[in-house]
């Protein structure tokens, strides 16, 4: 209590509250920052992450919109071109498919196509759904589509600390930033300093040190990978877990350095793998290490199917601590018989506070 009082600026904050605090702080210091989107001002407040903003800053700066994702994206782009800093929020990333034209043909290209005369300091916040029957159209994490196209930054903070720091960086960035928030992360918390701070894009974080294998995990998969890291300790495998935090820009050097040591690279993404972030990371690492430093590589991610609604199938759709641990084991001990972690430990690693409905 007294230690908390001493260092009041270091509280435990939930993921959504961290985003809220970042937004609030940036709106307080910069009148150009505003929030726009469906349902940003209702009592659910985007899983609480916009709670209180409309009361504090008024409806002109927390703008509820009609169901018009395409136009509203264009509106946000136009406002950004005029010097404002919109934060456009989508309750599901799948809905970005309605505004790809504005995001890719306009936001990503404007600065280049107009040779620097215009820029688009726009944050696009998107929540990636999972479980409780989210199904095919409420579960997609489409970051690789944005990684593919020059001109958009992409961040996917895996914890509350990064969420706050990345949000402040995103708001201050002069480019469009797609900000990816996996739904389950809203049930996680972390120590979050009270003062505004930034997490710099393009710095891969080593979240767990290790010697035998490098696991690069993206977004919520960082949590799963950390649990897998515990599980493989049982069989004396020391796994290094890296969190790139930002996918554009991507700090590949830290990944390459780690893999040079461990000789094994496993990428675990919260998305499909084909042409995904994992394909990119594998390809980049292998290109950069060259033929002389040959390494073992593997990718995990969504099963390459549409996401099913029923939990009976959905449970096989995502990588889990168990499946990640098993894959890591296979890579480290390719010739030993297959191994799966102790059922009880695996179960514990599996647990999540979340339960449906959304």
């Amino acid at each position: 209590m007294s230690s908390q009082a001493k260092n009041i600026s270091n509280r435990i904050l939930l993921y959504g509250d961290a985003i809220l605090e970042a937004t609030d702080q940036e709106m307080s210091v910069d009148p150009n920052v505003f929030v726009i989107g469906l349902d940003v001002a209702d009592h659910k407040a985007i899983l609480g992450s916009t709670r209180g903003l409309v009361e504090k800053f008024g409806p002109e700066r927390v703008i509820t919109t009609p169901l018009s994702e395409d136009a509203i994206t264009g509106v946000a782009i136009g406002a950004a071109m005029a010097g404002m800093r919109p934060i456009h929020i989508h309750i599901r990333m799948d809905f970005l498919l309605l505004c790809m034209n504005q995001l890719i043909n306009m936001a990503a290209k404007a600065h280049y196509m107009y040779d620097g005369q215009l820029s688009v300091p726009l944050v696009v916040r998107v929540i990636v759904g999972r479980s409780w029957g989210q199904g095919a159209q409420h579960s997609q994490s489409l970051h690789s589509m944005f990684m593919h196209v020059p001109g958009v930054k992409v961040v996917a903070p895996s914890n509350a600390f990064d969420a706050k720091g990345c949000m402040i960086s995103a708001v201050r960035d002069n480019n469009p930033v797609v900000f990816i928030e996996q739904r389950h992360l809203y049930y996680t918390d972390a120590l979050v300093p009270k003062h505004p701070y930034t997490v710099e894009f393009g710095k891969t974080r080593t979240v767990g040190k290790g010697e035998d294998i490098t696991i690069v995990a993206i977004s919520a998969m960082v949590i799963e990978a950390m649990k897998a890291r515990e599980l493989v300790e049982e069989v004396s495998i020391s796994a290094e877990v890296l969190d790139p935090i930002s996918l554009v820009p991507l700090d590949i050097d830290t990944i390459v350095a780690s893999v040079s040591r461990t000789k094994r690279l496993l990428v675990v993404d919260n998305a499909w793998t084909i042409c995904g972030a994992g394909a990119e990371i594998l390809a980049s690492v292998v290109e950069s290490l060259g033929i002389k430093n040959s390494i073992q590589v593997s990718r995990m991610g969504f099963k390459h199917t549409t996401c099913p609604a029923t939990p009976a199938l959905e449970k096989y759709f995502y990588p889990t601590p168990v499946s990640i641990a098993a894959r890591a084991y296979e890579m480290v001990w390719p010739n030993k018989p297959a191994w799966a972690p102790d059922a009880v430990k695996a179960e514990m690693a599996h647990q999540l506070k979340f339960r449906g409905p959304f």
């Binding site: 209702d42 409780w132 159209q137 099963k303 390459h304 609604a309």
Partner: protein, 315 residues
Amino acid sequence: MQDESLEGIYRSLRLIRRTEEEISKIYPTDKIKSPVHLSIGQEFIAVGITSVLNDDDIVSGTYRGHAAYMAAGGSLNKMMAELFGKADGCAGGKGGSMHLVDMENHVLGCSAVVGTTIPVAVGYALATKNKGSDQIVVCFFGDGATEEGVFFESLNFASLLKLPVLFVCENNGLAIHAPIESRWVTKALCERVETFDIYTSQVADGNIFTLRDSANKMVENIRVGKGPGFIECMAYRWREHVGPNEDFDQGYRDRAELRKWVENDQMEKVGEMLDEQMRLSIDASIEDDIVAAIEYAEASNWPDPNMLDKNVFAG
């Protein structure tokens, strides 16, 4: 499509209401593995419209699709099994509540992305017209869906080609919690749609027979090739946007509004027109059907894990 006798209409209204009430009772047990968007209070729209259709007409609904699905004659057992995430569900558990489908009974697949089904329904109508069939397609959607650009694109194209499609906007004045005033600059939806040379009609009295009259005229026009029709039917969502409960304690709307609609509950009104005995026997048979559907869902197996990668591509 659906029995257009008073009994038939009542049966349908009652079936939908009672099924959803049971769904909302079961929901806290977590047996239903899917978000549910209930139609309670809005059933009269789906029932009124489908009661003027032919058996082979096509119905397209939304994620709030239980009513349209049941009114069109979709299998109750399979719907319940779908909500339970079971192998015998109408989509083998892969769709859940938001993606109902029953092509045997002419229910096109529902979608969880607002507005997405509108042009798809128009395309289905293009095909039925091209095949020279006299099937029409009814496309249900909410007031929120009319804010999506694709709605206007679809109107223009459907009218250009005089396609046999009846657009039905279920205007419950809300999109999640956003009141229509925050989303529509005017209420002139019908006038707007008319500028596409589409017959329109607004049904504001919440009366299923007024709606049927409108729908009947529209459907007649559509079948003789006069092109699409559009009905805006006012309604009220009695429960929360998603989930089994009421939410009048959330402060975004007033229970007084609900009361007006409850007083005008079409299920009760139509029920009152029936002979008491008849009504009781319908009610009883519906309870049996629902119990049977729940038993069917409970008894159904979970989908086999190897179904995960089945049907990604069609053969």
